[in-house]
Amino acid sequence: MSGETIASDARRPSEPGPSAGGGPRGTRRRPAAPERAERASRRARLREAAWGYAFVGPALVLFGVMGVYTIVYGFLLSFAEWNGFWPQWNWVGLDNYADLLWRSPVHAPAVREAGVNTLWVMIAVPLLTVAISFPLAVILNSARRMSGLLRSVYFLPYVTTGIAVYFAWQYILEPNGAINLLLRSVGLGSLEQPQGFLGNPDTALPTMIVVMVWSSVPVAMLLYLTGLQALDNSLLEAAQLDGAGWWRTQLSVVWPLLRPITAVIVLLNLRDSLQGFQVFLIMTNGGPGNSTNVLGLETYRLAFLSELAPTLGLASALGWLLFLAALVVAIVNQRALRRVG
């Protein structure tokens, strides 16, 4: 039966007649046309649904395996001691959480130190990102010439960010790197860092923050630019008619109107600051000393750099603590977003 037939059957008005198989003496009779049409229609719907499930199925299985399974596995692991090789986990209850938070004389201080560094990153990266990307977006939005080129240039860090760029930063920041050379050549030799900007514990974390901000500004700027272009011009004109100058308009009209975007940017950067570790792993490995060790990196160290010690459970527990922190940040941010919205 072709599709057209099914469709035409389905549209046919209902005909009077006995119900299916229900003759006076129970004799089998052919079902009436509307009934046939309804069955055919149901079959078609079922078939269509089956195909839908068939297409969605692989994604669901993938999510089940890669998502649900790993989440549950990771959560259970946070209550166990395991090194990745033992045939069985050693259940320790909440010990891993207690060890990380206060109990272990080895792990708790390391987590606290990493927590303080992470906090600095969480404060500095979103603030600096907003402080740089908002004015940049305003300037780019008002540029009349070469605005496309400028946008591309400013967006470049985002499309090139990756391991190679972090290595490039490392070379730029090393003792004989471009930044020291530049400082020397412009007569600012006193600002040079003989051990390199990453080799001095006083400059290492601020330098890492600068690199993170450099990576995050493009997206933030793009979001602000989108917001600026969606602004109702009549509001800006009204402000100007009321006598507001350029600064006043930006601070009292544009900035408040873009607050929801600011909230999104802050949230994204908070999340990256809290959970990100790749840049630290590649550029400093937490050093010098432990001056750039952050919680994300500490988690990675516990999981993969602990000389086969059974610390995978600790790593998992720290991961879940980070998740809880991210959840709190998201809730606070959502509340703030609602208020400004």
Partner: protein, 465 residues
């Protein structure tokens, strides 16, 4: 409203369904790695190593092995060590390990063995097998009473091992605490002989630094903070304090550990090196530090016997290298620091592999004198074999001189001995505290001594918990 044209989806043919099903099944089975451990081919072995510099030497040995036995060996390297461990862990879970693994002797071999991944070789490895080895390393890879007791402590990585089991056979030996110096620059600064005391070493650094202000410094891969501690401070402190007082540095005894006057003196002596670090040493990885030396950006690099291979691999002329152990301070307990060789890596046979007999034959083949010497010359790494009276003849001049400089005496410093350290001791964390003292200069010797003692005490406390 016009008729809505519903098209019946095209059915797959029976053949299509069959092929699709077979493909899906194959994919799932392949993902699950149902093939079993090791190579499926009885005439082929698979071996993994975490040392890229060992691959060429192993491949030459494999060719000889194939000529003699008809069994080919496929060697694969996975680096660095952490990636290798992760690879082994993942492959163990999918039943996809090779036949033979190169492992850290008395380290990852016990971790893997305790977890049931490796074959216990204690019945296989006979005295005849280990006869060509140095007597001091012949038994390494075997679980001693001390290793067994350490495995019982909470948080130990070697849970499951039993005393007397053997999970690896020594493959390369050596030690840490070896200084590699640029011979030409040393000569230009007026030095042709290695220093015999720490003070002479500092003088040498000073002279070379004055001659080469841009690149005359010393470096080490302190991005892995344990290197400064284990490859430099420890051998120097051993030379200063001697075999009895040195282990006490890691004890909880305030009168003898790092916080004690002896500990602080050792730190102060070590701190003399601070002005001579190559800029950026605090943030250099081990390979980066070695490359800094190979590229001429530093005139000294501190490593282990294994560093030579990396330097040669990266184009540094081995004839332009002068090597010497970290020397003891002038009025120290030891007149000279002998470094005791120990097994750095071993060879393990994977449990329940399909080609166990062939795997054992291959491991035994590699222990043969002629094969081991050939491998050493190509890989520039020392074998566990006794190289005789004249090691230079056996494995070449540089490797031979390094072998000759290693000591066998009772009082020789044994860098691989961890018996005096608490379980759960993490050299990286302890090294990070030392880095605050030198090269970072953020703490003085007394504060550093106290911080080291505090951290090491926390490991003792943790091990008793």
């Amino acid at each position: 409203m016009g008729a809505v044209a519903l098209r019946r989806p095209r059915r797959f043919t029976r053949r299509g369904r069959t092929l699709g099903g077979a493909f899906a099944l194959t994919t799932v089975l392949a993902a699950c790695g149902g093939g079993g451990q090791g190579s499926d081919d009885p005439n082929q072995l698979e071996m993994w190593t975490f040392k890229q510099s060992h691959v060429a030497g192993l491949e030459v040995a494999a060719e000889m092995f194939e000529e003699e036995t008809g069994i080919s060996v496929r060697v694969q390297a996975f680096t660095p060590d952490d990636a290798y461990n992760t690879k082994v862990a993942a492959s163990a879970r999918t039943n996809d390990l090779p036949d033979v693994l190169e492992v850290h002797a008395n380290g990852s071999d016990f971790s893997f063995g305790g977890a049931g991944l490796l074959e216990d070789l204690s019945d296989e490895v006979t005295e005849e097998w280990t006869a060509p080895f140095l007597p001091t390393v012949a038994q390494e890879g075997t679980v001693t009473r001390q290793y067994y007791e350490q495995s019982l402590a909470p948080g130990a990585a070697t849970v499951g091992i039993e005393e007397g089991q053997r999970y690896s056979v020594p493959f390369t030996v050596g030690t840490f605490g070896i200084v590699y110096a640029n011979k030409e620059r040393l000569a230009q600064a007026g030095y042709t002989e290695p220093p015999t005391t720490w003070e002479e070493f500092i003088e040498m650094l000073d002279a070379v630094g004055r001659e080469f202000p841009e690149n005359g410094g010393v470096t080490i891969g302190m991005k892995v903070p344990s290197t400064g501690l284990e490859w430099m401070l420890q051998p120097m402190a051993y030379g200063q304090l001697g075999p009895d007082a040195y282990p006490e540095l890691f004890s909880e005894d305030e009168s003898a550990n790092w916080a004690s006057p002896a500990g602080v003196t050792a730190l102060e002596t070590f701190g003399q090196i601070t002005p001579y670090w190559t800029p950026g040493t605090g943030i250099m990885a081990i390979d980066e530090a070695d490359l800094s030396f190979a590229n001429g950006e530093s005139s000294f690099v501190v490593g282990g016997t294994f560093t030579l291979a990396f330097l040669a691999e990266n184009g540094f002329d081995p004839d332009n290298i002068l090597t010497f152990p970290i020397p003891p301070p002038e009025h120290g307990a030891m007149e000279q620091t002998d470094l005791k060789p120990f097994a750095l890596t071993g060879l393990s046979v994977v449990r329940e592999g399909g080609n166990q007999e062939a795997a054992l034959e291959w491991v035994r083949f590699l222990a043969r004198d002629d094969v081991a010497r050939g491998f050493a010359q190509r890989a520039l790494d020392l074998p566990p074999n006794d190289l005789g009276e004249n090691p230079e003849e056996a494995v070449g001049p540089l490797l031979g001189s390094m072998a000759a400089s290693l000591g066998e005496s009772e009082d020789a410093y044994h860098a691989g001995d961890t018996s005096y350290k608490p379980n759960g001791y993490d050299g990286a964390d302890v090294g990070a505290v030392l880095a605050e003292f030198t090269p970072l200069e953020r703490a003085d010797a007394e504060d550093t001594g106290r911080a080291l003692a505090r951290l090491i005490n926390s490991y003792w406390a943790e091990s008793r918990r």
